[in-house]
Symmetry: C2
Subunit: 347 residues, 2 copies
Amino acid sequence: MAVTLGDVARHAGVSLATASRALNGSARSVTEELSAKVRASADALGYLPNAPAQALARSSGATIGVLLHDVADPYFGGIARGVGDAAARAGLLSLVTSTDGDPRRELEAIRMLHAHRVRAIVLAGSAYNDVSVIQELDEALAAYQEQGGRVAAITDHGPLYDTVEVANKEGAAALTRALLDLGHRRFAVITGPERMRVAEDRLDGVLEALDESGLTPVEGMLQRTEFTREGGRAAMARIVDVARESGTPLPTAVIALSDICAAGVLAELRARDIAVPEEISVAGFDDIPLATDLAPALSTVRLPLARMGEFAVRLALREGGGRDLADNSHASAEVVLRDSTAAPGVY
Amino acid sequence: MAVTLGDVARHAGVSLATASRALNGSARSVTEELSAKVRASADALGYLPNAPAQALARSSGATIGVLLHDVADPYFGGIARGVGDAAARAGLLSLVTSTDGDPRRELEAIRMLHAHRVRAIVLAGSAYNDVSVIQELDEALAAYQEQGGRVAAITDHGPLYDTVEVANKEGAAALTRALLDLGHRRFAVITGPERMRVAEDRLDGVLEALDESGLTPVEGMLQRTEFTREGGRAAMARIVDVARESGTPLPTAVIALSDICAAGVLAELRARDIAVPEEISVAGFDDIPLATDLAPALSTVRLPLARMGEFAVRLALREGGGRDLADNSHASAEVVLRDSTAAPGVY
DNA sequence: GGTGGGTGGGAAAGCGCTTGCCAGCTCCCC
DNA sequence: GGGGAGCTGGCAAGCGCTTTCCCACCCACC
């Protein structure tokens, strides 16, 4: 029913082999004359290669897999876009799987991507700190790699994979220092679940910077939650409640380690009539597109989301594939101060 | 190198055919005894089916393609998420292509998805009003359908495809009426490019509702722009400039037919020190997750983005595949009034 | 006890493509 | 002018799976 390479070959009066080489072949060359004839036949017939067949014959598909928590989340959406663009540039399509960070679904997703013989898997935020599954994940990925698959991680997922190093820790530290410079001394920090490596890295950065100034977050001023709006809102509520119950003053600065979280924080503070930044400064992380449109415009740390995705693909697809650590890409993080932060007590 | 079905068959002491039937086969049955043996061997060996090979043999892949403008855009991200979830439930993976609404890239994407023999293509916002390419797109999709492909569209893309009917027009009309009810009479409307069907539908709804009240947008008060933040900002700037130059009063209500656009509108108004909603009410469309966190919280029309994606998949995958119009799904739109709108002149 | 029908296993023919290998040709150099 | 060297075409063997036949077998029934 569909037009096959065979049809094209017959129409052009050449062999199947020649047709194949003319249209996709790389190693061997075909005279321009024949090649042109084949190409002409191909589009006269409206030939469309059969990707699965090619994948089978070459034993490597024309796709790239992306593993992430949720495409609808701006952070991951940005990465997915970058991966998709880079893939398209390489003539590949991208397979996107949203796992909500559920380890079992991640494992499942890796297996499916492997089954589809994707050329590379990009890991963007997986449950890589969850010891209960990390081994299974590693095994699944190892099996994939053994069969020629490439995997690139965005943010550290261990030394086994090429990784796009994201300056999460540095960025968080810089952000914290910026707040310290403004004069803040009472901090609250809202981070993500322990199983998320990114969250841990960012938290480390914050703690380190605080430590440099001889500070440690007081009991209750360090909250762990999911990186969601609701998570941020609830965490902020807890922070205020803890402070009020214990009679301690509110923090003057709240650092939410994800912009989405920070949006929840802002919402909660608004609901409680606590002025930002007058009473409390709030900062996020990621600089998602709408960060600047929040009320007030959110101070945050800018990450080049799409480029991170592109880097990952480039890393995974690069020639040779020798895992040369020097090749790891770096994504820098830049502090962006907007209206949600100010010096404490200036009002 | 990889474990093949043949290996499993040998290990289980059965034929290739039996192994295939035990693991995936449908038509023919295999005795439970053998079947169990095969399954045991399969996971003893860590067998992972080769999807491309299966796709080739069955001449239909285990993937679904999604065509959209930009995964990083919250509107499309939500849809992509829904498609991905529904696909996963059906044991499929989803191939996502961001085309930025460029007709040529859409055509290219359709061809690639076809080449990959995706089981269905979900059209979410394509250049379907652009006559210069609509024919080519239709041809490409027709070719795909002829070979057994299914296509489902989110929002009307013509009668040739199953479609998830989105109440764009009705929602826009309802939103407009809500503003009329508040007392607004001077409107400005910011819509998307003509080639976008959604934009046209929404605009129709607005105009129809205005017409019911005997209103028509004045010259310059109807702006067309891309559905982006910057597009919205620029359009709002033009609206203010036009009004000032012509000495007409500013509109009391601005309807931006996409939330992202509305974010730009709010930013521009803020920059010009025009108070929302005191001086101008602003409304968006889509109810993207962060709409409620904008400043002020955005009034908008809620669309069940993820469910729209799921519907599309269900439509495309349903049994038989008879294109029964009665089967078309409907996605309702609900007006959500928040702080960005108020009665005119109450301040 | 013979025959017809039903059932489950296996051999083998593809699915559409890539690619290793061989054959034929041209070209060049001694 | 003869003989490699170097190209370019074509043949055919897969890639890993599904599926059509065919066959062996078992049961039931006359």
